[in-house]
């Protein structure tokens, strides 16, 4: 088969489905765009977008910020990975943010975001983001768009069903995707990989991480012990179902190898319903077991422009086989991914990614089934409610491979379908499909502004596609990721725009710019800078030696660094450049780089202090300079560091202009 035929075949496989009678070529797809759409996504020069789109950065480990409807990328926020734009994870101040019980982690996988809510509505305070690989949750400020806190989740692996939040941001949650032997001190995690060992030793927990209402500070309130299953996604109840949270799970087969086949045997897996208010009562009554574990808690302090990392050593674990009323299983076809509660809190939509229907569960019926003990049996000691008793109904023949559902607040749900590559709109009350539209190609998660809240903002649906292929100019084997914007204001969904994204976005949320834009911080006030190595006045710029450690108290302002001549540093010294940007105006960062640093550069915001550690490795002159174009004399913003041999007697001197040597 030649290459052209192979491509065509791939197209048929990806795109054939209810929306397609025949396989499609890209040329035909252009006709899917109706005329007049350009003005709907055109944001005139100097004008601002209507929505912020907060998009997970996938394997980049960060979070990206786009504008809607333009699809323009504004910022990549480093969260779980080092960042070569700002020095995050390289500067001395930010290194503690990436600390874990496994030590310093340079790169993680970021899957989902959750925007803080009050009474179920977006409030524009914080972004929560999960670290999937080494389980963590981060909190990002909507004022600074910086990561302010990261908490590690012990007793867990593959933190996928995270960081979804409860109605008033009481909690953000975490769940174990890979069943895993617990980390308890004294437990023996060195267990064999076989069926008997899996059933005996491998557990899954969901963790409820409390969020302090004023500061946002996180702490693990308790963990609920579940049998070894793969917990996948989660949504909290809202309004009438506030107090509950729902987790989808797959691999109820408890397979430990070739899950592709072995975890797809049963017709149904589960949605786990957790009554977290009941859990709180048990914790208060001291019914939890203390689990002795070690996990990092990293906090950024905006006053000192520095992070600290401390270790916590305990969680409270609740065992629902011993504590009745906190966990129920609802059978759900088949290997469910999405598990989404509608804006009224009445319905829970399961999306079995191997199923050909969408089951919709009724919260009221669930409560009745619990009260009536309407069970079809037990799974690992947990009650399993009868499918028919908790079901509101099934959406029939919606497509293949439903993944995830969001809502427009007008009684409609929108489900993404990976296998048939489409978005499907359906009526929650009648369960009838009312519209479908193809996506290019193979959509994963989708998002509607406010879609997971009690008050969706509607207007658009965005498909975050898993496959890009021919949608953009090719860039070799490695392609940009592909998102698509749809207008959902009418009866029919209309494709408006393709826009490229970074790092394989999984989930995303969007909220009106009016909730965020007015409070966006412009610079840090010098008067409030409490960094221990701040230099608030150029007259205090200096170099101080303490044994082999050299502290450079340097200032940056358009367009010079002070001091800019330094002598007396020796090979093998540990030099810390503490650079304070003295600017007090919006958008005047300065950068810093020194030749052969072996570390990174810095980018320092106005009023901020940042530190680069530099260990000179050879004798010579090491020039340094500002890396961010700051003024007409930016090229002049440079200096020299003289590095002498270890043991040399060159005295430590420094200066700038008059105070430099003539």
């Amino acid at each position: 088969m030649n290459k052209r035929n192979l491509l065509l075949l791939a197209g048929v496989l990806v795109l054939s489905g209810p929306a397609f009678v025949t396989g499609c070529k890209p040329k035909q797809l252009i006709t899917q765009v109706q005329s007049g759409v350009a003005e709907k996504v055109y944001v005139a020069p100097g004008k601002h977008d209507e929505f912020y789109n907060v998009v997970s950065g996938g394997f980049s480990g960060g979070v990206a910020i786009y504008g809607l409807p333009s699809g323009r990328l504004f910022r990549q926020i480093p969260v779980f990975s080092q960042n070569a734009e700002s020095g995050y994870g390289y500067s001395e101040e930010t290194k503690p943010m990436l600390n874990t019980s496994f030590g310093y982690q340079v790169w993680d996988d970021q899957h989902h975001v959750s925007l803080s809510t009050t009474k179920g509505e977006h409030d524009g305070r914080w972004i929560f983001a999960n670290g999937n690989n080494t389980p963590r949750i981060a909190r990002i400020s909507f004022e600074t768009f910086r990561t302010e806190e990261i908490i590690e989740i012990p007793n867990s692996a593959g933190n996928h069903s995270s960081p979804f939040i409860t109605e008033n941001t009481e909690y953000t949650v975490a769940g174990t995707r890979f069943a895993y032997p617990l980390d308890d001190e004294g437990a023996n995690p060195d267990v064999p990989l076989d069926d008997a060992s899996f059933k005996k030793n491998f557990k899954s927990v969901v963790s409820m991480i409390a969020v302090e209402p004023k500061t946002g500070r996180m702490s693990i309130a308790f963990q609920v012990l579940l049998p070894g299953i793969d917990i996948d996604l989660a949504r909290a109840g809202k309004l009438k179902s506030h107090g509950w949270i729902f987790f989808s799970c797959y691999n109820s087969e408890q397979a430990h190898t070739l899950l592709e086949v072995n975890a797809s045997q049963k017709d149904k897996d589960f949605i786990v319903a957790i009554n977290w208010k009941q859990c709180e009562e048990y914790v208060k009554a001291g019914q939890g077991r203390k689990s002795h574990v070690k996990y990092a808690h990293n906090v950024w302090d905006e006053r000192t422009h520095s992070a600290t990392s401390t270790f916590e050593n305990q969680t409270i674990v609740l065992d629902p086989t011993q504590l009745p009323g906190i966990a129920y299983l609802m059978p759900c076809p088949k290997s469910p991914h999405g598990c989404d509660t509608d804006p009224t809190g009445s319905y829970i939509v399961g999306s079995g990614k191997l199923a050909a229907i969408i089951p919709v569960f009724s919260f009221d019926k669930m409560l009745r089934a619990i009260a009536a003990k309407d069970l079809e049996g037990e799974f690992a000691g947990l009650p399993v409610l009868k499918y028919a008793s908790v079901l509101h109904g099934e959406v029939k023949k919606p497509g293949l491979g439903p993944l995830h559902t969001e809502f427009d607040g007008k009684g409609f749900a929108y489900t993404s379908f990976f296998v048939t590559s489409e978005l499907v709109k359906w009526n929650i009350a009648t369960l009838q499909v009312v519209d479908r539209v193809p996506t290019y190609y193979s959509v994963g998660h989708m998002s509607i502004p406010g879609g997971p809240t009690t008050k969706p903002h509607g207007k658009y649906a965005i498909a975050y596609n898993k496959i890009t292929k021919d949608r953009y100019l090719p860039t070799g084997p490695e392609l940009t990721q592909s998102a698509q914007l749809f207008d959902i204001t009418g009866e029919k969904m209309k494709l408006l725009l393709d826009f490229p994204t970074v790092g394989e976005p999984h989930y995303a949320e969007a909220l009106p710019a009016t909730l965020v834009e007015p409070k966006s911080k412009k610079f840090y006030k010098l008067e409030e800078n409490q960094h221990p190595y701040v230099t608030k006045s150029e007259k205090d710029a200096r170099v101080v030696r303490d044994g082999k450690v050299v502290h450079v108290y340097m200032t940056a302002i358009r367009s010079h660094l002070a001091p800019d001549n330094i002598e007396g540093v020796k090979v093998g010294d540990e030099v810390y450049f503490h650079i304070t940007n003295l600017e007090q105006d919006w958008d005047v960062p300065h950068g810093f780089a020194v030749k052969g640093s072996g570390n990174s550069e810095l980018l320092i915001m106005p009023g901020e202090t940042a530190t680069l550690k530099y260990v000179p490795s050879r004798v010579g002159i090491a020039p340094f300079y500002c890396t961010d174009f700051c003024s007409a004399l930016h090229q002049e913003m440079q200096g020299y560091l003289r590095v002498s041999a270890a043991g040399s007697d060159v005295p430590l001197t420094f200066g700038l202009g008059d105070t430099a040597k003539p």
């Binding site: 010098l526 150029e538 302002i557 358009r558 003295l582 007090q584 105006d585 007409a632």
Partner: protein, 101 residues
Amino acid sequence: MTKPLKPEWVAAGKAIYEMKCLPCHKLTNVRLVGPGWAGVSKRRQPLWIINMITNVDMMLAKDEEAQKLLELCLVRMPNLSISPEDARSILEFMRSNDGEP
């Protein structure tokens, strides 16, 4: 204008000068990035000085004298987010620097 100068304003102005102005302005008549401050309180009207400190972007857009200085120095004076009260203290410090009692 205060006569004699208010010492607490002079002190406050000096502290702000050292944090935000000193990198570019000497207290002599030597130009560094911007003009030296010696004599500035006699050369310029108080209102002009306050405007330059608190609203430099407007001054560089509209004021001929400010524009002449930009042609001379070639670096736009940055907005350092100084409040009118702090600007008043800086002016007091300039007058003190120029020898007013």
